[in-house]
Amino acid sequence: MSETNRTGCCGIEATAGLSRRQMLGRFAHGIGGIALADLMRANAHAATGTPGALGVLHHPPKIKRVISLFQSGGPSHLETFDYKPLLKKMEGQDLPASVRMGQRLTGMSGYQARLPLVGSFTGFRQHGPSGAWISDLLPHTARIADKICVIRSLHSEAINHDPAITFLQTGFQIAGRPSIGSWLSYGLGSENEDLPTFVVLITKGKGGQPLYSRLWGSGFLPSRHQGVQFRASAEPVLYLNNPAGVDSASRRSMLDRLRDLH
């Protein structure tokens, strides 16, 4: 399986532009006893944020954030970035043994009477000075051909969705390892204590993407490194909205009294 640069489901949210006060303010209307204690802990090293396991990096990072799109169920590489003229030329012929090299087949195709090759249904052209091959289906992307980097060497030994996706996100096809975003969160740390270092957005729609929370899980790393899923709904974070009939003034008074009680 060849893949483009959409390899991970992580997004390290940079928070450089947010002051600590702003961060606190953002959550302030919904902080109860537990969270209060958690935030007060943060005072201890407000200036430093959460250091990552790597400590000081051997060279200063040039980027502030990673946005990774994992397009489960998206268009195939064969119709987007992976130009394979020979495949097109050999369309209809049986898969040669020199390509398959004894690789196992899935129960889906393994019993077919034949294993014919099928090429891309779309045309490919080279774009920009780099001459990157891009499908005719992506005319807009083609115009920024020199701004992107395409990696065509990723592959997985897994032949089913679940283990393959798990492998792509965690480097191991058996569930239970940290996802790539969790590793980044663990290794690089965060400039703040309170906002998640790793957030996940999934497609709004009727179940188009089979994605499981494990794919942004933290495995054996502490759970603060797990991706926080933002939802495509009126309530982007679970339980964020006040109950019906409670406005922020009411909440404020309640939280003030809660603080008094503590």
Binding site: G30, A175, L261, H262
Partner: protein, 1042 residues
């Protein structure tokens, strides 16, 4: 110090935990004893050396292992003549990158202090000690004397704790007040808060503490809530969930095992039996339903049904999960490493792993469950209710009797001496026939030359089937005959000739089929392959490129011997592949199967299976009865030398003799009846040993299912305890090995779990790892004493719990005498105070339900679907919709909340519950804003708050102060101080004035949730009180055990 600032201090200290731990160790050389191997040296060697010089032989460098003294001496790095001159010391002292150890590339250098520890240890003779956890629990463990004063000692636990405290110069905390103790113990044993009546009764108990406390424990132990609470923890260990996991994540129907679990704790099943039943209950003599059901423990791992998956890959994965889970749950060892290579740290070889897997792999299972049918994967146990079992047994007995009569009659007829009369019969009339002469090409099949050059036959390309829509699938109790002529043009594995099924693996092969496996005919009737099926296989292939007549007859008996295969009219010798068919072989809508009623007989191809590519079929005939051997021969145009047995069978099927006919008719009727009865009985996955010779197990290189190495039989890691040859070489033997008095781990691991349950931290903090990489026990002798005491008391868990809970150590206030103790020991390793930590996800939700009076105390049964934010399942993309239930399902204990592995309930995961995809023996405990948000805004909590508010207003009309006092007490078990009461009053007043000005909002708030409310209450008063209760729900003592 106020509660508020205490909280602050406690949490602010968390980041320096590690420093504190180190400082406990970093005493000056003068006052420290000589380095202990277990305490000081092995952790160093394990962390810095064993990766290359440890138990794993494949990654071992320089043929040197440092985990064994004799080996280190043999390799010349320890010099027994002059230890101080040992090579190992030169290497750790060297700064030459080529010489120094560990090498710079390993990136784990030794500190100066660590080097001096090693130097000192080597110089003193490099004495090794066995790892503490692998030393058998001593027969008696001496209990220390406490010489110092100022320690309350209620039982031996306190002596161990006091000895350590005295050594560290710490004081025992004061004993907690009765209310605090009662609240603590109620949560620990039942997961629920004490009621006000229970608190009052305990406070009014004039007996001494010991008697009063024991009376409380008696009450709690005998409650259903205790059994539920104990089960709750084990659900994480057993990776219990309601769905299979992986991509499709269908429902798994394993809640009957959860019921068993609750029942086991209710009956106080001794722990050795608890272990034995779950590992090997099915193999115990005269195994009961409960014992067999317990083994579902081994089937709760994830399973997949994703189309195209390779069965063996996942079967291997499942078996490995069983090994891993048993390793972590019972032995406290991480087995995972040794799946791919010898363990790098612990004495568990890769061969040990696969030796264990041989115990767990010997069941008749398939690596994929079914997509089109809903059946429990085999092996499975029917779950009878009422008199079903008796009725079923009776029916089976009656069937066996009649079958015996017929078999006897056949045998005596065959053995008789009188010359059989030539049978007289005409050509049997088929219920369905097809000669393909008028076949139109369709799909990828087409007409071809007919048999004998007459008319047409059908020729297949193998991807499309010829479907006989008029031929309904055969049922398990229906006799039938299918005969046809065929001409294969190639022999391949598993080519489908005919079948009456929906799919191959995707429907667990449910149905009937004739396939040519490399040309060899195989006939199967299948409920769920392979554990619930009959199948026979010819001993030779049919010829290629020639016409052969194949007839299959079946007598409706569900026995392999009831299936017959005829080649060119002559019965073909066969071997029996499977002979256990207990359920019907059709799709059944009542079971939730897809496509019930739309499956029919089909030829030449099957969904995701190998088609009859290049093969031809002609002259198909289907009979809704069993043809006799004479009839089959006749139909095939064969001249046979009919045996007496053939005649007997013919006579049996056609006899006008009333007696025989009656037996036949009765048998048919009873078989149908039995089939209907069993169809209505649900089943659950369990363990059931494969009856044939043990299935071979192999060492798998790198853990890959395709890379089979050495064949292995069942075995256990000998470094832990050698396997006694008198034990049976199966899972019963494994259970005996586990629960043997000499097994050093199992008793310590459970004692540690019980300690964790009460203190929130194990004596060994790494519950999941008692190996070299795990943490050492804070109180090793206490742990051994508890383990010994548990075994000496018949593995009675309640006994050990009672001992812990009545100890003065447990009874301490969670506030230490000296605040500096927090600094020295923030994790309470030294036990200088009582436990204090956030309650579990289940306990917090159950607490809100309990205090509001909403909690439904129904025990066991299927999982329920309470409130959940809309759209979560849909978003997870597995095509499932969460249909929230109503009424009492909203208010059951949290352990009954439906658990979907790919989208677990957020009400639980927000509070650190795991996904249940794999065994987890210890939850993280985090504090996040999301948790506060959940309690503040989740409809479950808002509703509970407004229901409790309503109850208080109605129970205590008029007296607002008393209402607030009671609210505080209901939520915290304690009475409020005057300042606290003033805060609540102010809050109530503020809310009243706000809602008074906005009655609409008040109405909205108190309309939250589905529980009916008293419309007569003043909405403003009700809403304001609801906010007060919400505040109390978020108040630290509500969510914190202390």
């Amino acid at each position: 110090m106020t509660t508020k600032s205490r909280t602050f201090v406690l949490l602010a200290l968390v980041p320096i935990t590690l420093m504190a731990a180190l400082s406990v160790r970093a005493e000056s050389p003068a006052d420290r004893p000589k380095p202990g191997f277990n305490r000081d040296i092995r952790p160093l060697l394990s962390d810095r050396c064993f990766a290359c010089h440890g138990p794993d032989k494949t990654s071992r460098k320089a043929d040197l292992r440092l985990d064994r003294r004799d080996e280190a001496i043999r390799a010349g790095v320890l010099d027994p003549a002059n230890f101080s001159e040992s090579e190992i010391l030169a290497r750790i002292a060297s700064d030459d990158p080529d010489e120094m150890m560990p090498p710079p590339a390993f990136k784990k250098p030794l500190s100066q202090q660590e080097k001096s520890l090693l130097r000192e240890w080597v110089a003193q003779g490099a004495e090794y000690e066995p790892h503490w956890a692998f030393v058998p629990v001593p027969k008696t463990v001496p209990v220390p004397e406490v010489k110092e004063s100022g320690f309350v000692v209620a039982n031996p636990i306190d002596r161990f704790a006091a000895e350590r405290l005295a050594k560290e110069g710490l004081k025992q905390a004061r004993q907690a007040d009765r209310t605090t103790w009662l609240r603590r113990v109620s949560f620990d044993l039942t997961g629920l808060p004490p009621t006000l009546a229970e608190i009052d009764a305990f406070l009014a108990d004039t007996r001494l503490d010991d008697a009063a406390k024991n009376a409380v424990l008696d009450r709690l132990f005998s409650s259903d809530a205790y059994a539920e609470r104990m089960a709750m923890d084990w659900l994480d260990v057993a990776r219990y969930a309601d769905t299979f996991g992986y991509q499709a994540d269908r429902d798994m129907h394993t809640w009957p095992w959860r019921d068993w679990l609750i029942d086991a704790f209710r009956k106080n099943l001794p722990y050795d039996k608890f272990v034995t039943w779950q590992i090997a209950g099915d193999l115990l003599p005269e195994a009961t339903k409960e014992q067999i059901l317990a083994t579902a423990f081994n089937r709760l791992h994830r399973q997949t049904n994703e189309g195209g998956s390779i069965e063996e890959e996942f079967r291997v994965e499942y078996v490995s999960d069983r090994v891993r889970t048993a390793g972590t749950a019972f032995l406290g060892l991480s087995m995972e490493c040794s799946r791919c290579h010898d363990h790098k740290y612990d004495p568990i070889s890769q061969k040990d792993f696969y030796g264990l897997s041989a115990f767990f792999g010997n069941i008749d299972e398939h690596g994929l469950y079914s997509h089109f049918t809903e059946t429990a994967p085999t092996p499975a146990l029917p779950l009878y209710s009422g008199d079903q079992k008796t009725r079923h047994e009776t029916l089976k007995k009656e069937i066996a009797e009649l079958q015996g009569k017929l078999d006897g009659w056949l045998a005596s007829y065959a053995a008789g001496s009188e010359k059989p009369k030539p049978a007289e019969f005409g050509s049997p009339k088929a219920d369905f026939s097809k000669n393909f002469d008028d076949l139109k090409p369709a799909g990828d099949y087409a007409p071809a030359e007919g048999r004998g050059g007459i008319g047409h036959s059908i020729r297949f390309e193998g991807d499309d089937a010829f479907v006989c829509k008029d031929v309904a699938p055969f049922r398990r109790s229906d006799p039938f005959t299918v005969s046809l002529w065929l001409k294969p043009s190639a022999h391949k594995p598993r080519m489908v000739v005919w079948h009456a099924s929906r799919a191959a693996e995707d429907s667990a092969y449910r149905g009937s089929s004739l396939i040519l496996d490399d040309g060899v005919p195989v006939v199967s009737l299948i409920h769920f392959w392979p554990g619930d099926a009959i199948a026979i296989r010819a001993r030779r292939p049919v010829p290629m490129d020639a016409w052969t007549q194949l007839s299959v007859t079946y007598d409706g008996s569900s026995r392999a011997q009831g299936l017959r295969l005829y080649v060119n009219g002559v019965e073909e010798p066969v071997e029996v592949v499977r002979d256990r068919l207990t359920r019907d072989i059709v799709h059944n809508a009542a079971w939730g199967d897809a496509d019930a009623g739309s499956v029919s007989l089909a030829l030449g191809a099957r969904f995701r299976d190998v088609g009859f590519q290049g093969g031809q079929i002609d002259d198909l005939e289907v009979f809704r009865r069993e043809l006799s051997p004479l009839e089959v021969a006749h139909a095939a145009g064969a001249k046979i030398e009919a045996s007496r047995a053939d005649f007997a069978r013919h006579v049996l099927l056609h006899s006008p003799d009333d007696d025989i006919r009656k037996i036949r008719d009765d048998l048919t009727k009873l078989r149908k009846e039995e089939n209907e009865l069993i169809s209505g009985i649900p089943q659950v996955m369990v363990m059931k040993e494969w009856p044939g010779p043990r299935k071979p197990a192999y060492v798998l290189h790198r853990g890959e299912y395709t890379a089979r190495g050495e064949e292995v039989g069942p075995s256990t890691p000998s470094a832990i305890l050698p396997f006694d040859p008198s034990w049976p070489n199966d899972r019963v033997g494994l259970a005996k090995w586990m629960t043997d008095d000499r097994n050093p781990l199992v008793s310590r691991v459970i004692a540690n779990r019980l300690w964790m349950l009460c203190f929130g931290r194990g004596l060994v903090a790494t519950l999941e790892d008692f190996g070299y990489q795990g943490e050492e026990p804070t109180h090793p002798e206490l742990l051994s004493w508890l383990a010994r005491d548990l075994m000496d008391h018949g593995w009675d868990l309640r006994h050990t719990l009672r001992t812990i809970l009545t100890s003065a150590t447990y009874g301490q206030s969670s506030t230490p005498r000296d605040p500096a103790t927090y600094e020295k020991d923030p994790d309470n390793r030294l036990l200088a105070r009582g436990p204090r930590y956030r309650l579990s996800a289940e306990m917090i939700r159950d607490n809100a339900l309990a205090v509001s009076g909403l909690l439904v105390r129904k025990v066991g049964g299927p999982s329920v679907k309470p409130y959940q934010p809309a759209g979560l399942w849909e978003e997870s993309g597995t095509g499932k919709t969460y249909v929230q239930e109503h009424g009492e399902s909203l208010y059951r204990r949290s352990m009954y909340t439906f658990w979907r592995r790919t989208a677990p309930p957020p009400s639980m995961t927000t509070f650190d519950a795991p996904s249940r995809e794999f065994c987890m023996v210890k939850r993280e405990r985090t504090a996040t804003p999301l948790q506060a948000l959940a309690i503040l805004n989740d409809v479950q909590y808002v509703e509970a708050a407004r229901v409790l508010a309503e109850r208080l207003i109605k129970d205590l009309p008029g007296d607002e102060d008393e209402r607030l006092r009671t609210a505080f007490r209901v939520c915290t078990s304690h009475s409020p101080s005057e300042p606290q009461l003033q805060v609540l009053k102010r809050l109530l007043d503020e809310q009243k004035s706000r809602f008074g000005a906005d009655r609409e909002s008040a109405g909205k708030l108190i309309a939250t949730g589905e529980f009916a409310r008293d419309q007569k209450l003043d909405p403003v008063e009700h809403a304001a009180m609801t906010v007060v209760i919400q505040t109390l729900f978020n108040y630290d003592p509500f969510v914190t055990k202390r």
